[in-house]
């Protein structure tokens, strides 16, 4: 009898503790847990981007992405395929403490590095369905800098969040995010345009864990208004590699 009571109390305690955990978390804490899925301060990734038009035509691009966090957040993107954009590279230096962001572009045809205006981050990233801010979902997003979240519903597997946009650079009116409880990773994000019409559906899949960092290896972005979609595939990734800070310089870009 005592054994049965013990088991009953144990199960009751477990259920209460699980219930309490979900009850205790608010939307921003869920975002915090999603952010915590990525511990690394730097990475290097090789990505493939497939672009599909509404008629089904496809173009692909391959790029390398290097990122180093610190006082100044540094990011370098180099395109390796196809031939007409191969060699093109972006360097982004974001000094958040001084609210200063600098972007540099290397074009092989020019053979030189040019500073480009911050407005180049508006619109689509190299003709895809992604914006520069969407890209950060893949490369380790600072969700709490961009959104305030509120839990709208919850199941055993997922938590649904309403995302209020707090970053003026993000041009959506609001978003919805579904977070998997077992991984604390987003599996789907919907973004709505300024007219509050559904604009994009972002679906994350092929989840993986590398060196304690959880991530999605495949991201599909569907622009439901345009009928186009972009699939981002993570081909190679290395977290906290021994990155030379000198690669995040205009000198390195010039050497391409």
């Amino acid at each position: 009898m005592l054994k049965k009571i013990t088991i009953f109390l144990f199960i009751l305690f477990f259920l209460i503790s699980q219930f309490s955990l979900a009850q205790e978390l608010d939307g921003d804490q869920v975002l915090e847990k999603v952010e915590a899925s990525r511990q690394a301060n730097s990475h290097q990734m090789k990505m493939e981007m497939e672009l599909y038009s509404s008629s089904g035509d496809m173009r692909s691009r391959e790029l390398n992405n290097y990122r180093l966090e610190g006082e100044v957040e540094r990011s370098l993107m180099q395109f390796t395929e196809p031939a007409d954009i191969s060699g093109t590279a972006f360097l982004l230096l974001d000094d958040q403490s001084n609210n200063q962001e600098d972007m540099y572009l290397y074009l092989p045809a020019l053979g030189s590095v040019r500073k480009i205006s911050g407005s180049q981050k508006n619109g689509d990233f190299v003709g895809s369905d992604l914006t520069y801010n969407d890209l950060s979902i893949f490369s380790g997003a600072n969700f709490r800098d961009n959104y305030q979240a509120e839990i709208t519903s919850e199941t055993e597997e997922t938590i649904e969040l309403h995302l209020e946009i707090t970053d003026p650079d993000i041009d959506y009116s609001y978003g919805k995010m579904w977070v998997r409880k077992d991984l604390w990773l987003a599996e789907k994000i919907d973004y709505y345009d300024q007219q509050e019409e559904l604009l994009k559906i972002i679906t994350l899949s092929s989840f993986d864990e590398i060196d304690g960092n959880r991530l999605a290896r495949r991201i599909e972005v569907e622009n439901v208004q345009r009928g186009s979609r972009t699939i981002l595939k993570l081909l190679e990734v290395d977290f906290d590699p021994d990155l030379d800070p000198n690669i995040f310089t205009t000198r390195y870009l010039q050497r391409q």
Partner: protein, 364 residues
């Protein structure tokens, strides 16, 4: 297109040794870490003023190879086949040139480049008074985008990320004279990049236009580029003061100021104003307005519209173009160069003539 014919001192001094050096290094080092790419294109062009058809085929090959961690070379060769048709007459020209051929050598603080090369000094769009070295190709559809490379030596000194000091010694593109310049760049100062440069040599364009006279001149130039307002609107400017050594010529100022912005719907707009004093004593200053718009359409395609307007003479040159992506790396481009309110005395009249074109390009 102009042929670049070996004809002068530095050319002889540099071109042959550089190519010989590159060839010997290729034979000496392992053929590893090499990359190549290229473009094959064919164009049909109708020149309206000359009333003639032209077909042009271009094979451009780029080759780069690392010989060691600190040493590499780059070759860009272009083979052009042009045919002209006018009434019953037909002319054919074949031309091969090394557009660029240089050797890079990197040390701890200094990057060296030796050989035929382009310089991209200046932050404004295409018209760059700060480009003291590479003349525009007046025969090209977009003359400002097609600058001729020159033979020279460049050294870039990087004391740290935010500073760069560049020294250049080149051969003049047209005459047998050495040109020298130094540029100091300060990056990321309050969101702006600044550059100051001094130049000693000969004018890039002949004075007056069309004559074979390139007077000696010393120049001082400044430029900056950055963003302003919370919308991150791009702001850029170039200023060049030219001190001509010939007493028959007046010293001049050139000023460019411009803005650019990319909207959320991917429309990119650029506008710049160019004020150019001319060295002949009685010549009046040019005032040009340059506008550019481009936007993707149909997901993979693009349209562009360029306008250069001579504010004093009232003449404009408009260059609309459509670029269709037919397949991966295969583009079909069609466009025109149109002159509006054509005036013989306008400096724009000397640029490319009115034409229509259709071009198919394959990148590999």
């Amino acid at each position: 297109m102009k042929n670049i014919i070996p004809k002068n001192k530095l050319n002889n001094l540099l071109s042959i040794p550089v190519l010989t050096l590159i060839l010997s290094l290729i034979l000496t080092f392992n053929l590893s870490a090499a990359s190549s790419s290229g473009e094959l294109s064919t164009s049909v062009i109708y020149e309206q003023e000359a009333e003639r058809w032209q077909d042009q085929s271009l094979l451009e090959l780029d080759f780069q190879q690392d010989l060691s961690a600190n040493l590499n070379y780059y070759l860009e060769g272009a083979l052009t086949l042009e045919s002209y048709y006018q009434q019953d007459q037909k002319e054919r020209e074949i031309d091969f040139e090394f557009k660029e051929a240089y050797l890079n050598y990197y040390t701890d603080r200094v990057d060296w480049r030796l050989g035929r090369q382009n310089f991209s000094w200046g932050s404004s769009y295409n018209i760059n008074p700060l480009n003291y070295f590479n003349p525009i190709d007046q025969g090209a559809i977009d003359p400002f985008e097609s600058r001729e490379s020159v033979d020279g030596i460049r050294a870039d000194y990087y004391p740290n990320f935010n500073w760069q000091l560049t020294g250049v010694l080149t051969q003049h593109a047209e005459i047998d004279e050495l040109q020298s310049a130094v540029q100091l760049i300060r990056r990321r100062w309050q969101g702006y990049d600044f550059a100051a440069s001094v130049f000693s040599g000969n004018s890039l364009q002949s004075v007056p236009a069309g004559r074979n006279f390139y007077p000696e001149v010393n120049k001082i130039g400044f430029d900056f580029k950055g963003d302003f307002s919370s919308k991150n609107i791009g702001l850029f400017s170039e200023v060049v003061y030219s001190d001509y050594q010939d007493s028959r010529l007046e010293n001049t100022n050139e000023i460019i100021i411009g803005l650019d912005y990319k909207f959320e719907n991917n429309l990119y707009l650029l506008g710049q104003y160019y004020y150019q004093q001319l060295p002949p004593v009685q010549a009046k200053a040019n005032q040009l307005l340059i506008l550019r718009a481009e936007k993707p359409f149909g997901y993979f395609h693009n349209w562009e519209l360029n306008l250069i307007s001579d504010l004093k003479k009232g003449m404009s040159v408009v260059r609309p173009s459509l670029i269709f992506s037919l397949n991966e790396g295969l583009d079909l481009e069609t466009g025109a160069v149109l002159k509006l309110n054509q005036k013989k005395e306008s400096s724009l009249n000397q640029l490319s003539q009115e034409l229509l074109y259709l071009s198919l390009s394959k990148y590999f």
